[in-house]
């Protein structure tokens, strides 16, 4: 199967513009980028896709042994770049998607001009010995994986097409209900584990391409010291702290994310 089919790749925007490839994070799928895309549609070729195992990707391609390493997702991304023959692209990733984009850029720097990392973290895990305040202890993170298991039974309910108390259902709502955050519970658990236990500090420290790092000042998952660590350690990184609550600024304050990204890309 071609990578573009496997990962449900959608291409929009200006066909002759600089390509922007968006990599979503743990939890949902390419629809997370919906509110950001319009800002770039006139000048850029826009590529969004679902990570293997998520959204409408080919779930059967998610072989747990292979995807136990984030590098496999980076390889998928490189395959997509290769198939689309994009030349040099800008990779825009959210959270663990930012890590995946960075890994891909490190592996094939000639295919990537720059990175935009939205709420990234090289590692969620505390490492007191190294003076790294990732925010979470191992026990905390193990609790989360158990929690993903618990929500396994609620999964099908999340997918129910009509929900009482919904605002009058538009077609768009219907479509989202069917697809949004659709994740096989076993994959969600596995990818959750891979995401939250990933320690990619060494890869961040050897970033091969310049990057913009967007960090929310009120992010419940990524504490400020992590942003400071990245500013110091990631070669070619520009840190921008934005005033926003939560871990998904591309959804809560999409205009700010778009503006920061545009400024960064426009700056050369």
């Amino acid at each position: 199967m071609r990578a573009t089919e496997r990962n449900n790749v959608t291409v929009t925007g200006a066909s002759d513009g600089t390509p922007l490839v968006f990599v979503h994070g743990f939890g949902c799928d390419q629809t997370m980028w919906r509110q950001v895309l319009p800002a770039f549609a006139d000048r850029h070729r826009l590529i969004v896709y679902d990570l293997t195992g998520m959204g409408k990707s080919d779930l059967s391609a998610y072989v747990p042994n292979r995807y136990a390493d984030l590098g496999a997702h980076a390889e998928d991304l490189l395959e997509i770049l290769d198939e689309l023959q994009l030349g040099e692209a800008v990779l825009i990733g959210h959270s663990i998607g930012a890590t995946i984009a960075l890994l891909a850029a490190n592996r094939a720097p000639h295919l990537v001009s720059r990175l935009v990392m939205v709420s990234p973290t090289p590692s969620f895990l505390e490492d007191a010995a190294q003076g790294y305040a990732g925010g979470f202890s191992r026990a905390d993170l193990e609790g989360l994986v158990g929690f993903l298991d618990e929500n396994h039974l609620g999964w099908s309910a999340q997918m129910a097409p009509t929900i009482a108390g919904q605002p009058a259902g538009s077609e768009a709502t219907e479509e989202l209900t069917q697809s949004f955050c659709r994740t096989d519970p076993a994959i969600a658990r596995h990818f959750g584990h891979v995401t939250f236990f990933a320690d990619r500090r060494a890869d961040f420290e050897s970033a091969a391409r310049p990057s913009l790092i967007l960090h929310c000042d009120d992010d419940a998952l990524v504490p400020m010291p992590v942003a400071d660590w990245m500013r110091e350690k990631v070669p070619g990184a520009t840190l921008r702290v934005i005033s926003a609550t939560g871990h998904c600024p591309h959804m809560t304050v999409p205009d700010i994310v778009s503006a920061e990204t545009r400024d960064y890309l426009g700056s050369g």
């Binding site: 979470f136 618990e150 929500n151 955050c181 609550t245 871990h247």
Partner: protein, 443 residues
């Protein structure tokens, strides 16, 4: 309720919300708390620690719930406008976490912008216990199913009448038939074995019934299978229970065994032939008497070999060796044997048969068997420590004279038996009859 006065109506609504049998929370679109009803406040025991205000919905939850909120719930509220029945736990001041189910709906203004998120939270303690059990059972079932699915063996469920009810992937691989084609059909027709036309019905017929039935059979396609049948016994009604049938392809082992059998037979022939050739060479190379003696020794060896091949070379029965000796001695009247059956190891059998041959030869030449009225008595006893005592006593022979020179025979008996059997060996040249005794651990 139309007759109710408006203010009264509002009171009821306010009371209903405050004291609802579920927790209610309202946040702004960024998740900052704007309202918590009394029920939720009581569940959280917020009054116990007023110095720690909780600002956000996620702060009401235990840590995994907070992370789930950030990665799943917050995006869902924005993208699909609701979350439903999220299983999480409240962080209760000074108490254990309270399992709850959380549902939320996003409210928008006329322009479509989010104005607030409303959440209802239900106590899910009992439900959680039940779900935990369910999950546990499901995981166990999934794991067992995975074992059956990925097994290289054919694993079937067959009803009492022999119809296939389950057919795993291993069965499809082994018999080239997918589950759809096999289900409902008679198992002994779907999997035919040579010489066992009704193997299932014959195996499970009353009387053959055991906890497990095991046999090997050759399939119509030529491959050999080890077949295990066991009643599943979930229904409890005898005669109506289903069976698990596991078929393992043992063709390679089967072929290897077959090959080994052919090799062993070939080796037996070669040994016999070689002994025959050696006898021929001896006859041509040695003087008549020496040749005769040598050939008779070879014959004894050959007979020991025969006794061994009867058991695939793993050992021999002492009585079989004594039978050979008796034939050499001239029959049952000349050699009396008394004692229990004794199983000997392969080396023991060879050396003991040679020894018996020498004893018979000596007795025929110089001892009791040289006289028509003489005979030999052989007594076998198993001692308390498990060792075998073999006593050879000659009767009715000429007066015994101790030999001045120990011949090959005696030397051979003494040395070989000591070395090969670790035996205690004794000779007694009693004038009334020669006695020989050997004691060793058989097997």
């Amino acid at each position: 309720m139309a007759e109710l006065a408006q203010p009264r109506h509002l009171d009821v609504a306010a009371e209903l919300i405050e004291d609802a049998p579920c927790g209610i929370a309202v946040t702004d679109p960024d998740g900052r708390l704007q309202y918590i009803n009394a029920t939720l406040s009581n569940w959280l025991a917020l009054n116990a620690r007023p110095e720690r205000p909780r600002r956000r919905l996620s702060e009401l939850l235990t840590l995994p719930g907070r992370m789930y909120y950030e990665t799943h719930m917050a995006p869902m509220m924005r993208l699909q406008g609701y979350v439903r029945e999220i299983s999480c736990a409240l962080e209760v001041e000074g108490g254990p976490p309270l399992p709850v189910m959380l549902s939320g709906v996003a409210r928008r203004d006329a322009g479509g912008s989010f104005t607030r998120f409303d959440y209802t939270i239900f106590d899910a303690r009992e439900r959680r216990v039940y779900e935990e059990e369910l999950r546990h059972a499901q995981r166990e079932a999934d794991e067992l199913a995975a074992i059956v699915r990925s097994s290289p063996n054919a694993i079937l469920r067959v009803d009492a009448a022999g119809r296939v009810r389950r057919w795993n992937a291993g069965a499809t691989r082994l018999f080239g038939l997918d589950a759809e084609a096999a289900l409902g059909r008679q198992v002994d027709k779907v999997i035919p074995f040579e010489d066992r036309p009704d193997w299932f019905t014959a195996s499970v017929a009353p009387g053959c019934d055991g906890p497990e039935i095991l046999f090997e059979a050759v399939h119509g396609c030529g491959r050999a299978f080890e077949v295990t049948l066991a009643p599943i016994g979930e229904r409890g009604l005898p005669g109506e229970e289903d069976w698990s049938v596991i078929l393992r392809d043992v063709s390679r082992r089967y072929a290897a065994e077959q090959h080994l059998r052919v090799m062993v037979d070939e080796m037996k022939h070669r040994v016999k032939n070689t002994l025959g050739v050696v006898s021929g060479i001896a006859r041509q190379s040695l003087g008549r008497d020496e040749a005769a003696q040598f050939v008779s020794r070879l014959q004894a060896l050959s007979q020991a070999h025969d006794a061994l091949t009867a058991t695939d070379g793993t050992g021999a029965e002492l009585h079989d060796l004594l039978d050979f000796a008796r034939r050499e001695a001239g029959g049952a009247a000349r050699l009396h044997i008394n004692g229990p059956p004794v199983r000997l190891g392969a080396r023991q059998a060879t050396s003991l048969s040679m020894a018996l041959h020498e004893l018979v030869t000596n007795a025929l030449k110089y001892g009791a068997l040289s006289r028509a009225e003489g005979h030999v008595q052989v007594d076998l006893d198993i001692e308390d420590d498990g060792r075998l005592r073999l006593l050879w006593r000659e009767h009715g022979g000429p007066p015994v004279v101790p030999p001045t020179r120990r011949g090959f025979g005696t030397k051979m008996i003494g040395l070989v038996l000591k070395a090969e059997l670790g035996a205690e060996v004794s000779f007694d040249f009693d004038p009334s009859g020669f006695c020989f005794q050997v004691i060793f651990m058989p097997g």
